[in-house]
Amino acid sequence: MPFFPLLSTNKAVGFTSIFNFSPNNWENHRSEKKTVWALYSDGRNWKTKKLDTLNPGESKTYYYNDLLENGESKTQPLILLQLRKTPLAEKLDQLPSQEFKYTKTPEWRATVGLNLLDSQTSYQGEINPFPQKASLLTFHPFIQQKRVKNYFLFINAEKLPAYRESSIEIYEANSSKFIDEIKVFGNHANLIELDHYSFSSTDLPVFISRTMAGIPFGLGISMDNEMLSLEHTHPPASFAVHGERFKVQAEIKRRWFNTLKHKNESIN
């Protein structure tokens, strides 16, 4: 059920370029017109907007502020773009299924980025809704010490439209020291400022959520606002290749979740 995220933050505005052509010519895919739909949650329903119909080979870039004006939503929910054949109702109680067969090598992706003044940063991405019973563990090596404002960006999409509340616990991995706990919301892009924690160049921040999964990023913005830097951090499965990688991931998570004690647990 791939969607293409269009995110935004209060520091930089999001854009997403969506492509009606396959990334390869050897996995089965039917070349045909596709209509771009935007979906975002108001907390109760998924609201939908029909955008454009793309001919085979075409691409189009969408800016967050063009689709969701300030005031339309009190927060900045994630917008999900989907390529479709059939129309959607104005409101939905869950995300719709996909209507096309997509490639796997690589995944069919969009250019997902942020824009500030004359600078852009992006990654090639897609998002599949995360199950509600899932968790996050990620290490964050992107803190820059000079001339940079550092952020942790966490995006989540779930099948149901609720703004489900969870939290991100922040630790320093060398010491396993609890640093902070920040409230985050489902179906949103959540931005966490990091500089007031004064991480040093050898510190390794680690972010965990025991009740929500999502895609974590490091975002850097130069002090003069002239350059952005965005890269997603890996899930623990990336430390290994081949074999039963997701069992490896589960084992790494088990070990770290046991090691990183929440402040309330530490007191007890």
Binding site: N24, N25, G57, F142, Q144, E244
Partner: protein, 275 residues
Amino acid sequence: MNQLIKNYIKKNIPSRYIELITNKGIILTKIPNGSAVISDFFVLRVEQEWETYFECLQFQSLLNAEVNEQTNIVHFVFYNQNGDYVGEKEVKIETTLKTTLDVNKIAAELGIKKDGLFAVFHTHKVNWLNKFKSYLAERGYVGYANKKQGPIKAFVHGNLDAIAKYHDKSEYQLLGNYSYLEKEFFLQHDLNPNNTYELYLVNPTNKTQEFLILEKNKKNPNTISFSLPPRGSYKYVRTVDKKEKKVNIIIKSKLYLARPVVFKIMPKAFDVFHG
């Protein structure tokens, strides 16, 4: 049992044979035959005032959720653009879980002054991974800086688990698979006017590969063809003029996944990502 059969096939039958029966059996990279540690190929940029940094994480500690009190050693290996071995170095890293390594400095100590590739192998064995038939792999993060192009670093992770180093012998194995048939990779990214794009392509296979780069939907597309030996790398540069429309790139080769690392150079900043 099914998993055992799948693993046997993956390990012993090249993807290009499996592909003749089904696309579903294709795997991008080979499974090493024996105890090994794996690395991606990372792009080393030293020319034109580029700086390359490696965010080195202590895998021994991260995989065991405990801080190892001893310094660790990671093994850097460098290749030039023709894929020739140009040097290697064992680098001591601190007990801290993260060390930012200045790769230009390591390369300079080996007399390397040109762009190329490097691989990073962790020397510690993480034995519990064997239980899951998995291999320890360094997939990166590389930070790039260039004061002329922008004020801060931009990061990118590795592209493909490309090379294995065996524990019990001083041998490396290239892991990239390739097909008998030509494949096309369409970069799902618009090259926009007023920017310069530098696309780095890598050959992670054990055979010289032919590449053709062309622009999509152009009546008279500019094409560039080149051969890339094993471990070789190539930089394709495309400046999109202000008056041009956006450009889309196709890469033809026999690689299943010829995705480049892309540097996007804007008037006052740069960005890096994989295709």
